[in-house]
Symmetry: C2
Subunit: 286 residues, 2 copies
């Protein structure tokens, strides 16, 4: 199952996720590391850390001869990369995947481009850190213990899927399979909705008098933590997953409305019921 | 300023907050520790840890001769304790305070009872852990570095206030003074509202399919953390601070509505603006 020493791995976008892949792949004895970046300076940093056998800003050149091609760029940039890759000559049996945090949009874009060219594409979402903190934040074993969701389609070849699962498992991931729509609904609930809840809590808690926050203890800090994430990146993620996120956000808005109604009516019984439900739901995981 | 070795300290309710006070007071060389608990078993545990020179379920007996009396029971039980204390014979110049997380209700209840009997009462809110985890969770230096808000009234004697500030500072608190209404508005924003935001996020994120949470990373965990707090205790806190919390919760509900509208309209510009505002507000503290 994809012995690393026989694999030519091509990473497109050596940021936190791509760079960490390179670090682990080097350690695992990958036959060849090929790296594409948009900017030459990024490649200089990659070369300086000994993480590329071939590095170029020419995506076609990087794709040539590669066995496994991993798109680690923002979701909005994946389709045009795929369009370049399919004009190159990857190795026979080459497989393309990505690390984007939404999947339906990726399959409809980069996935469709690859499929039309006869190159297998399977979406991946390793859930290992959301910040696009760049190569300097990359580290070994970033993927160790993380969940990685793969989103095969009905016509995905079982051998290709098995190879991709083996790849992520070699990096330490727990893999799971589901279709892209279910994946997107899932991340809407467990990642994108908590982000918006944190943003709403930050605005409502801080805005009347930001100086008040000096008195806050751990509750405010933790509830709002993710609202410190990069606004530009989160705008992109939230809009890309808009259709799956809308019903979740409508639930959140309805829930804050229910809480408001309960407090307006000082309804002790209903208040205890929702607090208890929340405590019990959270106990299923934490 | 209240040298501990000359002070007879009476703690009413040896739970996390009261028990931690006893541990520090013993270490600081308090002249006498007097402890009241509702149940005899609680007093047995207090005696076993050497934290009481006198312990009783009779609040009057515990109040007799005490210099500083600290109510460490739930806010709903403070007024009836005060009614017993004022029939006792505390030391001349005795001062009563509390550790409740809301202040207007305490001043209107226990505070008014003490004032009517000529015993000075000043509200305190040491912000050091919200769980009523009992004596077994009590520990030394719980208060070290915590903010402690005191809520003097226009007729509070400056000497009494100075004594109380010195007490909390001796325990390591940073003290701040404000009136009870401002205190309650503050904790509504920095503690009670984040709690409800975490509850709403938990319900909206987990309810459709609790099994999904197995895939969650740190964002869901932190945003919802405080929703695991004891429902009974939080019901009491939220209802006690209801009038200050209502406008804050209305803001949260309005904000989730704005986010929903932005996402429905896929309004890129407004989305970036709110994400940026939240990031900047949070950066004022964290």
């Amino acid at each position: 199952m994809l012995p690393f020493r026989e694999t030519s791995l091509a990473i497109f976008g050596p940021g936190l996720l791509g760079g960490s892949l390179l670090l682990d792949a080097r350690e695992l004895g990958c036959r060849q590391l090929r790296v594409w970046a948009r900017r030459e300076e990024s490649l200089t940093a990659v070369r300086a850390r000994g993480l590329a056998d071939f590095a170029s800003t020419d995506a076609r050149a990087v794709a040539d001869g590669a066995d496994l091609l991993v798109l680690c760029v923002p979701v909005g940039g994946m389709k045009s990369l795929a369009e370049q890759i399919v004009t190159a000559s990857p190795a026979p049996g080459a497989l393309v995947t990505d690390v984007g945090s939404v999947k339906a949009a990726v399959l409809a874009g980069a996935g469709a481009v690859c499929a039309a060219a006869g190159i297998p594409f399977i979406g991946s979402h390793p859930m290992a850190g959301a910040e696009t903190a760049g190569l300097e934040a990359a580290r070994r074993q970033l993927y160790q213990g993380a969940a990685c969701i793969l989103t095969p389609e009905p016509d995905t070849a079982p051998e290709a899927l098995a190879r991709l699962e083996a790849f992520w498992q070699a990096l330490g991931c727990r893999t799971a399979l589901m279709d892209a729509a279910r994946h997107d609904a899932l991340v809407a609930r467990i990642s994108h909705l908590p982000h918006l809840a944190a943003v709403a809590a930050t605005l409502a808690s801080f805005q009347p008098d930001p100086a008040m926050a000096q008195f806050a203890a751990g509750g405010l800090r933790d509830t709002t933590r993710v609202a410190s994430g990069p606004p530009g990146m989160w705008r992109e993620i939230l809009l890309e997953n808009r259709s799956a996120l809308l019903p979740a956000l409508a639930d959140l808005h309805r829930t804050t409305g229910e809480l408001l109604e309960i407090l307006q009516e000082a309804d002790e019984e209903r208040l205890l019921a929702v607090l208890t439900t929340a405590q019990q739901l959270r106990a299923t995981r934490y």
